[in-house]
């Protein structure tokens, strides 16, 4: 996990701790407040809901974190959700191999592969064609979403693809299999965290995100690493698409239409810097939990949608401000 230290001084370490882990504090405070003020917050049903809701964006957010650590962004993650969902659903429900023992594994494989494919396309655009990730992933997102809708219109007469074998839904946590998606998410989160904090690859990600030029001169494989980051993001989106499809029990081309904001908000509020070079998986996990908590409260309290949008926006602003402030970029030398 990343730590940065601000100025030394009598309260330097408190400031340091607070800035690094403010999201954890925020999360705890929020949770406590919810327990106090939201009726039925602590009920087993709501707790289960909360966990499953956070799983809904956990994996994909962790994936996108990798890209943000390099100062980039991945808009296409939500398109992977949609694309993966409709292709996977098609394979499992309507394709020639639907309802055979191969259907579900093939479907899962397809969904994950689509994630990898989109990630690879993004990687190629950014690394070889030298496009900024903003443009490259925006383009893949638009193409991907379009393809998802078009494909659905071809293979189904409804707005979604239904008819997936019921066994698949276990991955989404239905009927007593609640733990399944949670365990999958946990495993991936731990894997991602290990990758970033303990391995050579992780060190390179942070170094390159901090200063790609210096990293290049120090002999690091910058192009390869950036490519892998986009690949990871796509892969995570692909895995998320499996869980999302299982949860929704259908292939939905509009999957993910509204979650991009939550994903980015979770990452930024969690503390990963948009400039790249600092942040991490654990921070994003806290961010995701926080956003889910927020969404949960909104539902339980019946608050209007725009209020929550306002709050999320403000928090992102504050988080970004803290980010810039703690880096104290000196633009003018006097």
């Amino acid at each position: 996990m990343e730590t940065t230290m601000t100025r030394s001084g009598s309260f330097g370490w408190i400031r340091g701790f607070a800035l690094n882990n403010s999201i954890l504090l925020l999360l705890v405070v929020m949770f406590a407040a919810s327990a106090l003020f939201v009726p039925n917050f602590l009920s087993p049903f709501n707790m289960k809901n909360l966990l499953l809701q956070s799983v809904d964006i956990m994996i994909i957010s962790v994936g996108v974190t990798f890209v943000l650590l390099n100062g980039g962004i991945d808009f296409s993650c939500v398109a992977v959700l949609a694309l993966g969902s409709v292709f996977g659903a098609y394979i499992m429900a309507k394709s020639p191999i639907a309802h055979t023992p191969y259907a579900i594994p093939a479907g899962i494989l397809a969904m994950v592969s689509i994630g990898l494919l989109v990630g690879a396309v993004n990687g190629f655009s950014v690394v070889i064609l030298k496009m900024p990730s903003f443009i490259a992933t925006l383009a893949t997102m638009m193409v991907g979403s379009g393809v998802a809708v078009w494909f659905t219109s071809i293979v189904s007469d409804k707005a979604s693809i239904i008819g997936i074998p019921e066994r698949f839904f276990a991955l989404g946590g239905t009927r007593g299999h609640t733990l399944v998606p949670i365990i999958i998410a946990l495993a991936l989160v731990l894997l991602a965290h290990w990758l970033l904090s303990a391995t050579l690859f992780g060190r390179r990600v942070f170094a390159i995100g901090t200063n790609p030029k210096a990293s290049f001169i120090s002999g690091m494989p910058v192009k390869r690493t950036v490519f892998l980051l986009l690949l990871v993001s796509g892969l995570c989106a692909g895995v998320q698409s499996v869980i999302a499809t299982a949860r929704n029990q259908a292939g939905i081309p509009s999957l993910g239409d509204r979650v991009f904001i939550d994903i980015v908000a979770a990452i930024i509020i969690g503390g990963t810097s948009v400039f790249g070079g600092s942040g991490g998986v654990i921070k994003t996990v806290y961010g995701v939990l926080f956003i889910s908590l927020l969404n949960n409260d909104v539902n339980m309290l019946g608050i209007e949608w725009y209020v929550i949008s306002l709050i999320k926006g403000l928090l992102v602003l504050i988080a970004a401000f803290i980010d810039v402030f703690s880096k104290r970029v000196d633009l003018i030398r006097r």
């Binding site: 060190r203 200063n211 030029k213 210096a214 990293s215 120090s218 002999g219 030398r333 006097r334």
Partner: protein
């Protein structure tokens, strides 16, 4: 103040990070004159002009313009007061036209803020005719040659009613014809416009032919201001470099071995024009040159940071097939860049992270995991051996270290790899005297252990103190080679300025 003094600087002093770079400069500029300003890199010319131009605030001293106190808080103030600064890197907009650039700060507007293009075009045409430039007001700057761009900058200055125009190294990217044209323009400004010109350049012939007086800066102090007619070039060179060599350089027994590094015909654009060199093990070879000579471009090519157009490198008898940082590092070459903040360090990361950057792969064990204990050990070792002053290597960010310590971190990260060849580009820039000495000791130690060192610097004194021989580079070519016994400051500077020392 006498009425013909347009600008008076008194006791101007400036420090950066605790090191004083200008020590109380007193200078009076005569109205309408062309004053030459010369000095080595680091002498303080740019700092002084930046203070005049409002880019930096002076720490002490006063300035008077036309008899009234002059204290620009920013470049705009200075421009408004009539000071135009034409930098080496021109500030033009390549996607806009000649006319638009000329009037960029004062676009003539009519009703409803509409821009009066017709009037702009005709006024621009007037200037184009006066200066005899081969262009039209509607041509985009991107397609216009350097000489014309410079004229556009001058015109911009005139539009803003500049009284003093400062030229900073204006001819480095100009052809001979364009240079002559620039001189004609300066002459015109001087005679017809009564404009005062301050001309900064390394090219002494130009300074001598253009300027009425020459001011020489050395180590942040004004060594002298004199009528050009009363000066000779050798005299000016002596004023630029003459000083005692302080005994801050390490000595020690050292063996110089065989040739291990050969570069042949390295070329890149206009900056590097066919450079070849042979370096031996245990040798510390200096590369001296002034700004724009091509030093940094050359070493960046050697390490593969920038692509060279032609040339080959043979290291330890084997030709290097592809030259990139990765391949150089693998072969045992290290490169300390000129700009440690942008390219040498991860500023916001702790000292430990920076120190292990180049040896990360060596610290990696199974499953790709980096060994934290080894990381800690190795970085501790480097901190001890290089005497890097840091109180918490795991958490203290490298940006909070002093310049000298930062530089030691950069050197440290490369030393960890045990390279057999070091390329150092200005390793003591922005470093205090104490740390400079430590770095010289480190360089000497490296060489004593058999490493080859290529030491690029614009500080002649340190090269003379540390190197076994010094190559001089001028306009992309190696023009001279001095071995230890034959070091002569004036001759070296003479070659660096171009021509055979005079």
């Amino acid at each position: 103040m006498p009425s013909d003094t347009i600008l008076a600087l008194r006791q101007i002093a400036k420090s950066f990070f605790g090191a004083e770079v200008l020590h109380g400069i007193d200078l009076e500029v005569v109205r309408g004159e062309v004053l030459g300003l010369v000095g080595e890199n680091g002498a303080g010319k740019s700092t002084l002009m930046n203070i005049l131009g409002g880019v930096w605030l002076r720490d002490r001293g006063t300035m008077e313009l036309n008899g009234r106190p002059f204290e620009p808080a920013n470049p705009k103030d200075a421009q408004a007061a009539g000071i135009a600064f034409i930098h080496q890197e021109l500030s033009l907009f390549s996607n806009l036209t000649v006319a638009e650039n000329i009037f960029i700060d004062e676009l003539p507007t009519g009703p409803f803020w509409s821009v009066q293009y017709a009037s702009m075009r005709s006024r621009a045409q007037e200037y184009i005719d006066t200066f005899g430039v081969q262009t039209t007001p509607g041509t985009k700057i991107a397609s216009v040659p350097m000489g014309v761009r410079q004229t556009v900058e001058v015109t911009k200055a005139l539009i803003k009613k500049a009284q003093i125009i400062i030229f900073d190294e204006p001819t480095t990217s100009l052809s001979q014809k364009e240079k002559e044209n620039l001189f004609r323009i300066i002459d015109h400004l001087h005679r017809e416009g009564g404009i005062t010109v301050i001309y900064i350049s390394h090219i002494l012939e130009d300074v001598f032919s253009l300027c009425e007086r020459i001011a020489v800066l050395r180590d942040g102090a004004l060594v002298g201001v004199e009528q050009t007619a009363r000066l000779t070039k050798p005299q000016v060179i002596k004023m630029m470099v003459g000083r005692d060599l302080e005994q801050i350089y390490p000595h020690g027994e050292k063996k110089i071995g065989d040739v291990v590094y050969q570069a042949r015909g390295i070329a890149q654009g206009k900056a590097v024009q066919g450079v070849s060199m042979e370096l031996r093990s245990g040798e510390v070879v200096g590369l001296f040159g002034l700004m724009g000579a091509g030093r940094t471009e050359l070493v960046r090519c050697l390490f593969g940071v920038d692509k060279m157009d032609a040339g080959e490198v043979i290291f330890h008898g084997r030709k290097m097939k592809s030259i990139s940082p990765k391949s150089c590092i693998r072969n045992g070459i290290a490169f300390v860049t000129e700009d440690r903040r942008q390219e040498g360090l991860l500023m916001s990361k702790p000292v430990k992270d920076n120190l292990v950057t180049v040896i990360l792969d060596r610290l990696t064990q199974l499953l790709g995991m980096v060994s934290r204990s080894k990381e800690s050990q190795e970085s501790e070792k480097a901190i001890r051996e290089l005497n890097i002053k840091v109180y918490d290597k795991n958490r203290q960010e490298v940006k909070s270290l002093s310049g000298g310590n930062q530089q030691k971190v950069v050197i440290g990260k490369w030393i960890m790899r045990n390279p057999s060849m070091f390329i150092l580009d200005e390793p003591t820039r922005g470093v205090d005297v104490g740390a400079k000495h430590e770095i010289y000791v480190i360089i000497n130690d490296m060489a004593r252990h058999g490493a080859t060192v290529l030491f690029v610097s614009s500080e002649m004194e340190e090269l003379m103190g540390v190197c076994d021989r010094i190559m001089v580079i001028h306009r992309g070519k190696i023009v001279a080679n001095f071995t230890k016994g034959e070091y002569d400051q004036e001759r070296i500077m003479g070659f660096a300025l171009g021509g055979e020392g005079s």
